[in-house]
Subunit: 352 residues, 3 copies
């Protein structure tokens, strides 16, 4: 591994070459890194996307800020005007990315199985264990300690960070990124109770990971029971996510941390799933569904939209106890209203 | 490792030999694998257990279907009639299980401690690290990268997949399966605050895993503080489950993914715990309790039955906001009903 | 590794030397280990802290019990009277801690990068992989299979158990403990959607772990996007916790298992976060806040206190369905009350 030690500087003109942005201010201003608006310093570039942070714009010490044209007049420093500041930031930030670069080749301590097809441009880290009949395409990077089960294949330019475990027969697409500790292809939770005892149901499917998928750290993605578990192209998973057997997740859906998806549930394309949400099994979720954080998705969702479960937002514990008491009081209240209605009808009858 | 490459075919008669099923149709029909009812093909066998999938039965392209006798007349292909189709499926599916088989012996890269007792039929994968005084019984399989702490023992025919970590003095029974990334025996969360600072409380117990337990991937099971953390015979854990120190889980209980059980809680036998459920500490849960997914179990459960927490199922986010507003309106409603009652009493008094 | 095999015995006088406790009973009573009140035996010492276990005090078979002076008269065996029995227990229990001790030196199978600074008293386990330019201070212990990214530094007397993964440029303080399977420094969940496709946002910050922090097993702590993710001095994390990018957690805060903290949220000092709680992103949580288990923290908390979310504690599933029905009935009830009010006003008008 080698690291970019030269803290190179770029002019705003260099950073924005080819990008869909316009510079308002000094195009020759030198930038040596990124910063936030609030903890900014000279020589750094910040961005404004989340309105929460707008209050820091007027006094920022950054040398330049990426923002919408509407925000530009509140900006007293150099401005890069973009229709999508966060996307533009992601392009510019890549100039300053100093993460280690892998070098091609197989580390001497790696254990390689028989009949593997390993492209000479692939990089296999220390202590990796590659099973028989594995295929690693051009530019694949395996961090140290990765274990790849037999007959698995990894597509071009995909990167598995340290300590990723792939079981056998897993198919990983191109430009996939998998963070450390993630396990792909363990057996689904298939158990059949017979005469009071659980019996294991063989899990015969695979896991198919589409191109441009990114998976966070310590996730678990189970192999299918019969068919395959599938993450389609461009799916993004945060950390500590559990994907049950036979699950399918549609293109460009994104799941935040700690989500659990039970077996055989199918999630559509372009869905956004909040952190800690959980899905029951055997559900179908339409395209373009957004689920808020910690929601229990207990039934299928057929229509795009935003969904939640539970009642009562965050309150003090005292208020929370009161809310629960209120709820229990409801039956009694219904009875009191019923009595009132009867008494009133009686009165009205007399009156008439 | 070696893999069954011959996609062998079996007749229905061969597949069902000794099983408690009857064949309706051609007992010589050749089967080469399993399938689902909906994505079926000739030469494959499917099963019908979950009523959700009954709609696919009449048009299935499978060569045979395992089902209840009640469903058989809706089946236009060969039928295997069983009183427990899912269990029968699990038996038949094992004919087609092509997962890698381990071969006995210690991989040359494994690091073995002193005074270990390793049965010659045990299989120790590449880069395993075995501490001193470890006992591995006949037929034990350790996938690559497993780390076994000193004085731990693993019973006959148990299998730890790649990258499992066992701390010291952990006892694993017979025929136990532990999936990748799981950590057993880390210190419980024992901290004592004294003069504003947390102090670590030594965790002196062990973890005892009974026979026939299966544990999914990336689970964490803490060692006991004083006594041992214990999973009894036949317990089944899905992935990403947290088991706190001193927890005991009774025979044949099954926990779905992402469940958390806080320290010193005791769960009975034959319980079914839905995904994402959480248990407070120091609780006692009776035998035969079912807890629905994402339930917060905040008190002990003394009676078998089905339990849930929270209110309000999955709704649109707009409806969810309305529900919360309704709840807040309740106090006001109670006041209005109280006023009505007073006014009505007054009216009735006048009337009389 | 070596283990204390001598089950040494200590007198109560020896165990309490220098501690802020008084002995009531036989100071020469020999103690050879710890026990709980309920599963006690001669020669062992127990403690009473949680009132839940007070019922076991009068009949305990322990040779001595650590407890508050108020409880002492109900104790029929030797008593160690302490103002903080759990803390005193933690001090005494350390006499009986038999966890393996590491020996200094680098295991022959470890892979060490270039330009590392490794103190001769550090212990590096089998199959560790240390990147270039890593600094390991005096007394650092790395269990087997740890992977340390380049330019990371680990402070004096810190211990990483087996299979911990640190990415590049991570800073770990002194006396830090990190349990197995934990991943520190993976990329934050930074993705920008542009023209229907997610683009990765480079994650350029680091993770800073303060002194005396303890982190459980299979946790994930993402590196910052721009600034650093930070756990301040004395923070304690249980297992399976997700810490998003840019999160800051204040001194001596403790998070129970399965908590998720979304990106850019700042948690104050001395907070206590119950298991399974989840925090939305970009929140600010005051010092001394307690959050109960499985609470969804959806907004900032400015005032110390205890907070919860949701409504309706644990009930039978039947009651739970009734609660949800009650809630839906509320709109209708409001309408009925409104009609009653109108009718009553009319009646009162006539009456007058």
């Amino acid at each position: 591994m080698k690291q970019k030690q030269d803290k190179r500087q770029y002019t705003l003109a260099e950073l924005t070459q080819g990008l869909d942005v316009s510079i308002r201010g000094d195009a020759n201003c030198l930038i040596e890194g990124v910063c936030t608006l609030q903890k900014a310093q000279t020589g750094r570039i910040a961005f404004l996307s989340n309105p929460l942070y707008k209050k820091y714009l007027s006094n920022t010490q950054a040398s330049a800020v990426i923002l919408l044209s509407d925000e530009a007049q509140a900006c007293s420093v150099n401005a890069l005007i973009s229709r999508d500041p966060y996307f533009t930031y992601s392009q510019i930030a890549s100039f300053f990315d100093d993460k280690p670069k892998a070098t091609a080749g197989i580390h001497s301590t790696a254990v390689i199985g028989q009949h593997c097809q390993i492209d000479p441009t692939a990089s296999i880290g220390a202590n990796c264990v590659i099973g028989d009949n594995v295929t690693l395409s051009a530019g694949v990077v395996l961090g140290p300690g990765c274990i790849i089960g037999e007959y698995s294949t990894i597509g071009e330019a995909s990167c598995l960070h340290a300590n990723v475990t792939l079981y056998h027969k897993i198919q990983v697409g191109k430009r996939v990124i998998i963070a450390s500790g993630t396990v792909i292809g363990s057996d689904g939770f298939g158990i059949a109770k017979h005469q009071g005892v659980w019996h294991k149901v063989p899990q015969l499917g695979r896991v198919i990971i589409g191109d441009d998928v990114e998976i966070g750290s310590n996730c678990t993605i189970d192999r299918g029971a019969i068919e395959d578990t599938m993450l389609e192209k461009g799916v993004k998973l945060d950390n500590l996510i559990q994907i049950g057997h036979n699950v399918q997740i549609g293109e460009y859906s994104a799941l935040a941390g700690c989500v659990g998806v039970s077996g055989s549930t199918v999630i559509g394309k372009n869905c956004l799933i909040g952190g800690g949400a959980g899905f029951a099994g055997h559900l179908t979720i339409a395209d373009n569904v957004m689920v808020t954080g910690m929601t229990a998705v207990t039934k299928s969702i057929r229509t795009p939209g935003v969904y939640s479960s539970g009642v009562g937002g965050l309150v003090t514990n005292m208020e929370w106890r009161k809310n629960s008491a209120r709820l229990r009081r409801l039956d009694q209240l219904v009875e009191r209203v019923k009595s009132l209605e009867t008494a009133l009808t009686e009165l009205e009858r007399k009156e008439a």
